[in-house]
Each structure stands twice: as C-alpha cells, then as structure tokens.
C-alpha cells in the first residue's frame, strides 16, 4: 500500500512543555485516517509540523515518500491543507481565491481554469464561482477550502478540525464528502475531537497529551480495549493518562 504520509519518532516541545512525544504513524492512500484527541492533545502542533510552519529538531516526516527537510518543495507540492482557521480572502470571489492558490502551486492559467471548474463541480459550487466568499455560509466556505486544497492533486489531504462552527447538516455533508475523497485514492488525515465524525472503516489514531494512545481501525481499537463503543474507548484512553 502506498503511504501518503509517514511520521517517525516526532517530538516537539514549547520550552519545557512537551507537546508531542515520540509520535509515529502512517497514513495510507485511499483511507480516511482520523486523528482523535481532546483539546490540547497536540493535534494542532502535529499539523503545524506536517505543514512545515515550523520544523521539529527530532523525528522525520515524509509526504508521498519525500522527506520534509531534505526535499521540502516536493513534499509540500503533494499535500493539500484545510486549516482550522478560515484562510480565504473574503473580498475576493471563489474563483479568484482558487486561482491564486493554483498559481502558488505553479499551475498554468489554462490548467488552473480547468481544475477550478472540475473542483467546483465536484463540490456543487459552480453557481458560486463569481460570488464573493463573504457572501457564502460557513459550510460553503469550508467546501471552497477543500476544493482549493485539491486543485494541485495532492496525495495527502490534511484537515484540522474543519467542522468547527458548522451546523449539523453542513458537518454531516462535509464528513461524507471527505470520506468520498478517500475512496478515490487520496490519503486523508482528519483531526477532530468529535467522535461522530468517525466512520467504521476509518483508521483511528488517538492522541492524548502529546502521545499516541491507540492506533488501528475502529473495530480493532474497540476490541482491543474490550469496550462496547468508540466513545467508551476514547474515555478509557484519555482518562487513563490524565
């Protein structure tokens, strides 16, 4: 199986406080991997390291086989990111936002035009092509961000708590959309603290206080802990270490 992301022995500290401690895992292509952890577990730190907003002095990160430190541009080119905070320009149109991103990733005007069209279609955003982002609801803005993250055909899609602030139907739609993407062959890493965003076939990573507490497919994790549900498993794992 091809790996979209490999993380090995990654540690990071803010001064004396350890935020991540020897974290290792892999995200295969074609699978939705859920990074589950309570607030303050280290999810955002992990995302900041994977997106290379800062580097870790220890451990390695490989994206689609490209080492993060040695070949940062190749690694970044194979990654699409949806950040936790909104990152669209509100006063620009949906298309302008997407084209800006496409150019940052080196797509030609023509290529960008056709990819923008494809992605807008995929996310049912065609009628909003010329709308200013400011006029869109939270759910639609998130969709635009996901469409944008896919323009350069990444091997890995990272989503950092993308459903924050969305209403229940938008949240459900987004979860379904992203699971659909994974089945098309992209490796997805989705960080969340909401258990209902996990589906049965997902790979699960439970992070708590900077350390991985469990890893495996959902049913495996539940069986291993001899509990009846994911929420019980989550409670056991995050209580144990407290």
């Amino acid at each position: 199986m091809n790996l979209a992301l490999e993380v090995e022995n990654l540690s990071f500290a803010y001064g004396p406080k350890k935020a991540l401690d020897e974290v290792s895992f892999a995200v295969p292509q074609g699978v939705c991997t859920i990074l589950l952890g309570p607030n303050g577990a280290g999810k955002t730190t992990l995302f900041n390291l994977i997106t290379r907003l800062f580097d870790s002095p220890t451990g390695t990160i490989r994206i689609a086989g490209f080492d993060h430190l040695r070949r940062p541009n190749q690694a970044l080119a194979r990654m699409g990111v949806v950040f936790q905070q909104p990152t669209l320009d509100l006063d620009l149109t949906v298309e302008q936002n997407l084209r800006y991103f496409a150019a940052l990733h080196g797509l030609s005007r023509k290529q960008a035009g056709s990819r923008v069209g494809e992605e807008l279609e995929r996310f049912d955003l065609v009628p909003y092509r010329k709308s200013k982002v400011r006029a869109l609801s939270g759910g639609y803005r998130r969709r635009v961000e996901i469409a944008r993250a896919l323009l350069h055909r990444p091997k890995l899609l990272l989503l950092d708590e993308p459903t924050v602030g969305l209403d229940i139907p938008s949240r459900k739609a987004l979860v379904d959309h992203v699971h659909g993407l994974a089945s098309e062959g992209i490796g997805v890493l989705w960080a969340t603290h909401l258990l209902d965003e996990v589906e049965a076939g997902d790979q699960l990573i439970i992070l708590h206080r900077g350390r991985i507490r469990a890893i495996g497919c959902v049913t495996e994790v539940i069986e291993r802990l001899a509990v009846t549900s994911l929420s019980e498993a989550f409670q056991v794992l995050t209580k144990e270490a407290a």
Partner: protein, 263 residues
Amino acid sequence: MHALRAFWAITWRELLRFVHQRGRFVAALVRPLVWLFIFAAGFRATLGIAVTPPYQTYILYEEYITPGLTGMILLFNGMQSSLSMVYDREMGSMRVLLTAPLPRWYLLSCKLLASTFVSALQAYVFLAIAWAYGVQPPPLGYLKALPALILGGLMLGALGMLLSSFIRQLENFAGVMNFVIFPMFFLSTALYPLWRLQESSPLLATLASYNPFSQAVELIRFALYGQIHLYALLYTSVSMAAFLLLAVWGYHPARGLTAARRG
C-alpha cells in the same frame, strides 16, 4: 516558470485587496495631505528653508516636506502590511502562502515586492495631488523617483516584516505608531533638514542621520529632482538587505513562528 506565476499571483492578490479596501487607501492618502495642506501651511513662515541640495533656489516649506510625506506613505504602508501579516498569520492566509512549494525567502520577498508596488502607486497619487497644489518637481523627476520609491518601500516593508516575525505584541497599531512610526518619522529629515536639527541638538541630528528612514527620504528627494544621492542609495540598500535577511531568518521553520499557537 512556477516562481514567476506565484509572483504574479501574489502581486495580483495584493492589488485586488487594495482595490477592495478603498477605505484604507483613502486613509493612507488623507494623512500626508493633511500634513501638506495644513501643517505645512501653518509652518511655512516659521520654518524657512535655505538653499540646500538638491534645491537650486529658495523653496517653500511645502516643497521641502513633499518627499518626506511620500516617505510617510511608504512607512505607514510598510508597517501596516507587517501588521496585516500578523493578522494574516492568525487568520491563516499567511499559512496558505507559506505552504506553497517554493522557498520561503522567495515567497516572503514576493509578498514584500507586491505590497511595495501598491505603496508606490499610492505615493504617485499623492505626488499628483501635490503637483496640482503647486509642488512641481521636474517631469523627469517623477520617473526617476520610481526606483527610489520601490527601494525605500522595500526597505520599510522589510523592517515591518522583521518586526512582525519577532514581536508578538505588534497586533495593535497604536503600539507600532508610538514605538516605531513616530520616532522614525520625527527623527528624520522628512520634516526638517539635518542642519536645522543640528542647531537645536547635535545628538538628535546624529540619530536622524543614522535613521534609515531619513536616508530613504533623501533618496526620494534627490531622485525627484533628477539626482542620485549615492550615500542614501547605499545606506537604504544595505538596510533593506539586512532587514530582509533577518526577516527571512525570523520566519524560518526551524525557529518556528513566534506567534505559533499551542494545540
């Protein structure tokens, strides 16, 4: 090719944002105009300016401060765009920029150049209004001022970027006004020539002569009158290079983003 595309996209985005933020544009223009129309008129009699290069004759105070006020536009914009970077970094559009698969120094330089173009555009609008008001340097001077405006704008923008990479508390503009913009502006040759300052305080005159903003203003002043001020050119270029290098270092992933949040 990729690098060039990214550069155009960054510049284009900056221009679009500029067009959409008309309020900011008007504010940036009103500030120097108030100085020109009111302050300079009020001080015309008090602050007589002797014949000093690049001027070949006695000039009105308005004429003296016009290059300084042009510099003021660059100074405010440089600081404002640095603040918007702090804001952007929080809001995330800086993150989108920094995850583009290009060297970080290149991305930051593109951003800097793009916002400098916008500043230069505003400076020209100001110079046009000043021309209508009667401050009329030789026509060719306007062309020769362009490289000076770009260099000055880059230097001040790089300084802003440097501040944004190191100082977390920069988030409110009042702090930057008090601790960066005002001292830089008043302790410079924007409003009074060095020899005037020398008369009242040699120390202040020395400080003003080392202020990179003074050198940027002198560079613009001489260029507007068709001359190259070599010392100012070198001083501004070296300051620009130093600020930019430090800013790139400040934004290096190994240092982390100063404002990076825990999670």
